[in-house]
């Protein structure tokens, strides 16, 4: 993984010092909350419902054991003993005191971490495929490019006061695990016919109250032009994006209102002027960054197959976990392990300090000191020898981290909702917990198969409900929480936005409604090989509407 050099250390230290000074000025009343707000946001500090919230950047979701232990330490020393892993592969703490935050940032800096640009109207933490470097289907590791973008976007003097936040995601495989088509810029790393690396460039995707799928504006951008092209897009957006209405300020609205063709012309014109200038990436620099992400040397461990075969016969839990949470690695003796943070009845994405430390220990002993955070709010060990899977599993069991539900209905994405968030209209966590308990049976979940359920507590869609195969959106109606159900969304290479199925359900009704949707799928599917999403795409909404609303649906 990337290691800071003196330049990076100097930068982060200077940034922390600058923020410490800004906090002191705020506490002394020298600076208004309005003036302070964008400064604290760009340093990861939100003012939430009950307290300040600190969102720490985990660039492209990659971290090592030492960093994970520091996250555990922060949870214990400055918070209530847990942290919440987010859909941007970050971690957030819900209870730090503002006056402690500079000290937390110092602690983070000591392990080459920061909270920069995890919020605010700037270029946010760049995300990437959580299986990067391990996936069998990848053309190249997307993380070197994510790191270059992270550096280039850090305290960018021209792009720190954009109309609105700006999110970039990079994937290196045809199978999109980074949801690039719902990002402001989505980059698909690929090779052209000559075998050279470059990117398909997507612009203008996003969720929120106006979900839009990104438009491809370039089929192949050579690697060397990455920063020039990104600058062109950002400059067009900074100058032309709407600033009159924060709900219409994302680049997706600019793309929509301008038209893809016209906007592409603007970007290409700006790019022509920037091309071959000082932003051109020398191949040597890219290769130097790439070297940091060189995969660990993976010694041959052919004994793994037998060990696994025997152990899965002896232990049904292990067998279920192998099926769900272990992913094919490009090396046949290895696997990528998903550590589910979605235990039955727990808050999705939460991890205690002890759990974080246990994961750090396992990563050090069995996973080449590498951990990832997935945008689905789980942790990943990208390189584990199959021979060690049982030992890793047993250690996860000791921490309650062995839930075998990756990709199943209880692997729920949920935003913090009304329990924490100042923007929320409804609770998300309690709904996730209810559904998780209702579908707790492993057999039943396996029978249902792959099903991505995502919950947002308000229209801002932090829980990604628009791209859930089943999405739940919490709204407030006449003082009570109401939950709308969307069906058919997807955040992969065939991205689609879920459709609202009908009137909403109360907190008491919503779990029953989800069960009805699932039972309808089970009744109508063409056998177990047809996933929920495939069945929905074939059947459309009608049978689900009928099951949920009966004759009321026909009348409406």
């Amino acid at each position: 993984m990337y290691r800071y050099d003196e330049f990076d250390h100097g930068f982060v230290k200077a940034r922390v010092d600058e923020f410490r000074d800004q906090v002191e000025r705020r506490l002394a009343g020298e600076i208004t909350e309005d003036q302070f707000k964008p400064l604290r946001l760009m340093n990861g500090v939100y003012l939430q419902l009950h307290a300040y919230m600190l969102r720490v950047a985990i660039p492209y979701g990659t971290l090592n054991a030492r960093q994970m232990r520091m996250l555990a330490h922060i949870a214990r020393a400055y918070d209530k003993g847990y942290g919440h892993f987010t859909t941007r592969q970050n971690i957030q703490y819900n209870w730090p005191a503002l006056s402690d935050i500079p000290a937390i940032l110092d602690d983070l800096a000591s392990v080459e971490m920061h909270a920069l640009q995890t919020s605010g109207n700037c270029i946010r933490n760049v995300t990437a495929d959580h299986f990067a470097g391990a996936a069998a289907d990848e053309v190249a590791d997307p993380r070197p490019y994510a790191e270059i973008l992270r550096q280039w976007s850090s305290v960018h003097p021209e792009f720190s006061y954009l109309p609105r936040k700006f999110k970039i995601a990079v994937t290196g495989a045809e199978r999109d695990r980074a949801a690039i088509q719902v990002h402001d810029i989505g980059l698909h790393l690929k090779k052209n016919e000559a075998g050279e690396l470059g990117f398909a460039v997507y612009v203008g995707g996003g969720q929120g109250r106006t979900p839009m799928i990104a438009k491809k504006i370039r089929d192949f951008l050579p690697e060397r032009d990455l920063l020039a092209y990104a600058t062109a897009i950002l400059r067009v957006y900074n100058l032309n994006g709407r600033r009159d209405n924060k709900y219409k300020a994302r680049i997706k609205i600019l793309v929509h209102e301008t038209g893809t063709e016209e906007l592409t012309a603007w970007v290409e014109k700006e790019f022509e002027a920037l091309k071959d200038g000082e932003l051109t990436l020398p191949s040597a620099d890219v290769r130097a960054i790439e070297a940091y992400f060189a995969p660990p040397a993976l010694p041959s461990r052919p004994e793994g197959e037998n060990a696994v075969r025997q152990a899965r016969l002896d232990n049904r839990g292990f067998d279920a976990w192998l099926k769900r949470n272990v992913t094919t690695h490009r090396h046949p003796d290895y696997a990528a392990v998903t550590i589910s943070l979605k235990g039955t009845g727990e808050a999705p994405g939460d991890a205690s300090d002890a759990q974080m430390e246990a994961v750090a220990d396992i990563a050090e002993q069995f996973a080449f000191d590498e951990i990832r955070v997935s945008h689905e709010q789980n942790l990943i060990l990208p390189h584990v020898a199959r021979a060690d899977l049982k030992t890793v599993y047993d250690q996860l069991v000791a921490q309650g981290l062995e839930t075998a539900n990756a990709g199943l209905i209880t692997d729920i994405i949920a935003c913090p909702g009304l329990d924490y968030c100042a923007l929320a209209n409804a609770r998300s966590i309690s709904v996730a917990q209810d559904i998780s308990q209702r579908f707790a049976s492993q057999e039943r979940q396996e029978e249902i198969g792959e099903l991505k359920l995502k919950i947002s507590g308000c229209i801002n869609a932090c829980g990604h409900h628009h791209v859930g195969h089943i999405g739940i959106l919490g709204v407030e109606k006449k003082g009570t929480e109401l939950y709308q159900v969307t069906l058919g969304g997807s955040g992969d290479e065939h991205t689609s936005i879920g459709e609202i199925i009908g009137r909403g359900f109360t907190a008491e009704e919503i779990t029953d409604a989800i069960e009805t949707v699932v039972d309808t799928y089970l009744a109508w599917r063409n056998g177990p090989d047809e996933t929920f999403l495939e069945a929905y795409r074939r059947l459309g909404a009608a049978p689900f509407k009928q099951a949920l609303y009966g004759d009321e649906a026909k009348a409406a």
């Binding site: 000025r25 003097p157 021209e158 900074n238 600033r243």
Partner: protein, 178 residues
């Protein structure tokens, strides 16, 4: 906790410190008297005939609002002594891109002035994108600039309008010139 209030006094700051402002914002050239210099709104500047523009030469500057494009101004940049870019709110970042474009794209070597809600925390960014003068009225900004505390970070991860030496290791890095 007390909130700061913005005093009425505005002072002109440049990298060399505070100095008297020999420019005044005005709606029309009628304000010109003696050897004075005025900064006109873009529309008023463009409405002048060529004769007036060339006669007044470096006595007129142009004030550009965030929503106004630079395009119409570009042909005149060779004779305009000052371009003032507006910050009606410090959070409106359009003028950063315009400063960058004036310097880098159009090779403009005159004064680029930041006018409006100019606060201490944004001045380092403005300097990097090519602003050279600042109309400052915020109390904290006035105090800190007076003490020579401009702030900012010396490690830059991207080139900007200000020409700076390259940083270590990678082509995109730059280091501040002291």
């Amino acid at each position: 906790m007390t909130e700061t209030t913005t005093p009425a006094t505005t002072r002109l700051w440049t990298n060399e410190g505070f100095r008297d402002d020999d420019w005044a914002h005005a709606e029309t050239v009628d304000a010109l008297a003696g050897n004075s210099r005025v900064i006109l709104p873009l529309a008023a500047f463009l409405a002048l005939d060529d004769e007036t523009r060339s006669r007044l030469g470096d006595r007129i500057g142009v004030h550009v609002m965030p929503g106004e494009a630079l395009d119409a101004l570009v042909p005149h940049l060779g004779t305009v002594a000052l371009v003032s870019l507006a910050f009606p709110a410090f959070s409106d970042g359009r003028s950063y891109s315009k400063a960058q474009l004036l310097r880098e794209r159009h090779g403009y070597e005159g004064v680029v002035r930041a006018s409006g809600d100019v606060l201490i925390d944004q001045i380092p960014l403005m300097l990097r994108t090519g602003f050279s003068e600042f109309e400052v009225s915020n109390e904290t900004a006035l105090a800190r600039l007076g003490q020579g505390r401009v702030g900012g970070i010396d490690f830059h991860y991207q080139p900007a309008a200000t020409q700076e030496p390259g940083g270590p290791a990678y082509s995109w890095r730059r280091v501040a010139t002291v």
